[in-house]
């Protein structure tokens, strides 16, 4: 929409800024909305595009939540949600698989994936600690490898 229809930015600009938004933590789409909004209208643009992106889905999701509060105890609704959760779970495994396959230096970096899973899913350590420790180790290895090239 931004690139093809309105031509507010070129594909290269879009990719560069999406790269930043994926590099930083937080919801990528919201970050991107803020960046694009700022570019055109400063603070007001950033606020409007962030809120504009989220307001509609926010209202829809609240309506769904109210429906869930009313009908969530019905057996049919529960089994339907169970089915959706199973599909969502499969999609998450698929996403992890694809992201893992995209890592270039697997012998050096996949051990950090395994450590993260051990810390988060098995030992249930707090994520901020795991991420800081993991990033120090994994980023350290990456920094060292970049220096050797």
């Amino acid at each position: 929409m931004l690139v093809d229809e309105r031509q507010w930015m070129t594909a290269d600009e879009f990719n560069a800024q999406l790269g930043l938004c994926q590099f930083l933590p937080g919801p990528n789409v919201v970050n991107l909305a803020v960046v694009v909004g700022k570019r055109y209208q400063g603070v007001a643009g950033a606020i409007v595009s962030g809120v504009g992106l989220l307001a509609g889905p926010f209202v829809i999701v609240l309506l769904l939540a109210m429906l869930y509060d009313h009908y969530g105890s019905l057996a049919a609704v529960q089994s339907m949600l169970r089915g959706i959760a199973a599909v969502g779970c499969g999609l998450l495994f698929g996403m992890a698989w694809r992201m893992g396959a995209a890592i270039k230096d697997k012998p050096a970096f996949l051990p950090f994936t395994i450590l993260t899973i051990a810390g988060i899913a098995w030992l249930r350590w707090p994520m901020p600690l795991v991420m800081l420790g993991g990033l120090a180790l994994s980023g350290g290895v990456a920094y060292w490898k970049l220096g050797r090239q």
Binding site: V87, M99, M127
Partner: protein
């Protein structure tokens, strides 16, 4: 009210480590909301995840649903803002300097270093959803099938799979 403030603080802290987006936060949200505070149980958490999957809009909205169940409208608002606002402000301030960071050795190192962690987080999230839903044979068979389909036909819109999952669930297969 105190729960709403607690929710805001907990999720605000999490937003700073959400490398890989809100999806990567699923395991930590489960730890905070279900295990530590007992605000929700396993079943409700799984249901909210399912609703967020089926709903249109960015997947960060699972946070909104959790907030709603914990603290009503203000809970939903607080958790959504906590997740989006801190990084939005930071990125607003940083964007003009991005050119000067981009391509630096430390910036590349962080990008490379964070990817394997994000993979681990998303894998952990998937496992936790699977375990807290208490799936039987049908559930795990569905998960495996969806994994295979999503890897084989990458352009397939996930909504088709979600609709099929809803039907299979209704039919009592999962």
């Amino acid at each position: 009210m105190s729960q709403v403030i607690e929710l805001f603080l907990e999720f605000g802290l999490l937003s700073f480590v959400a490398f890989g987006g809100a999806t990567a936060l699923l395991p930590e949200m489960h730890r905070v909301v279900v295990d530590n505070h007992h605000w929700l149980n396993d079943t409700t958490f799984t249901h909210l995840y399912a609703i967020a999957q089926a709903a249109p809009g960015p997947n960060v909205l699972v946070v909104t649903l959790i907030g709603w169940e914990v603290g009503g409208f203000f809970g939903a608002l607080a958790s959504t803002l906590a997740m989006c606002l801190p990084m939005s402000i930071l990125i607003y301030l940083l964007i003009d300097r991005w050119e000067s960071f981009s391509g630096k050795r430390w910036q590349k190192a962080v990008s490379l270093g964070v990817a394997p962690l994000a993979v681990g987080l998303i894998f952990s999230g998937a496992s936790l959803i699977g375990l807290s839903a208490g799936f039987g044979v049908g559930g795990w068979a569905t998960i495996t099938l969806v994994l295979a389909i999503s890897l084989r036909w990458r352009s397939l819109h996930p909504l088709w799979l979600i609709a099929a999952g809803a039907v299979a669930g209704l039919a009592g297969l999962i």
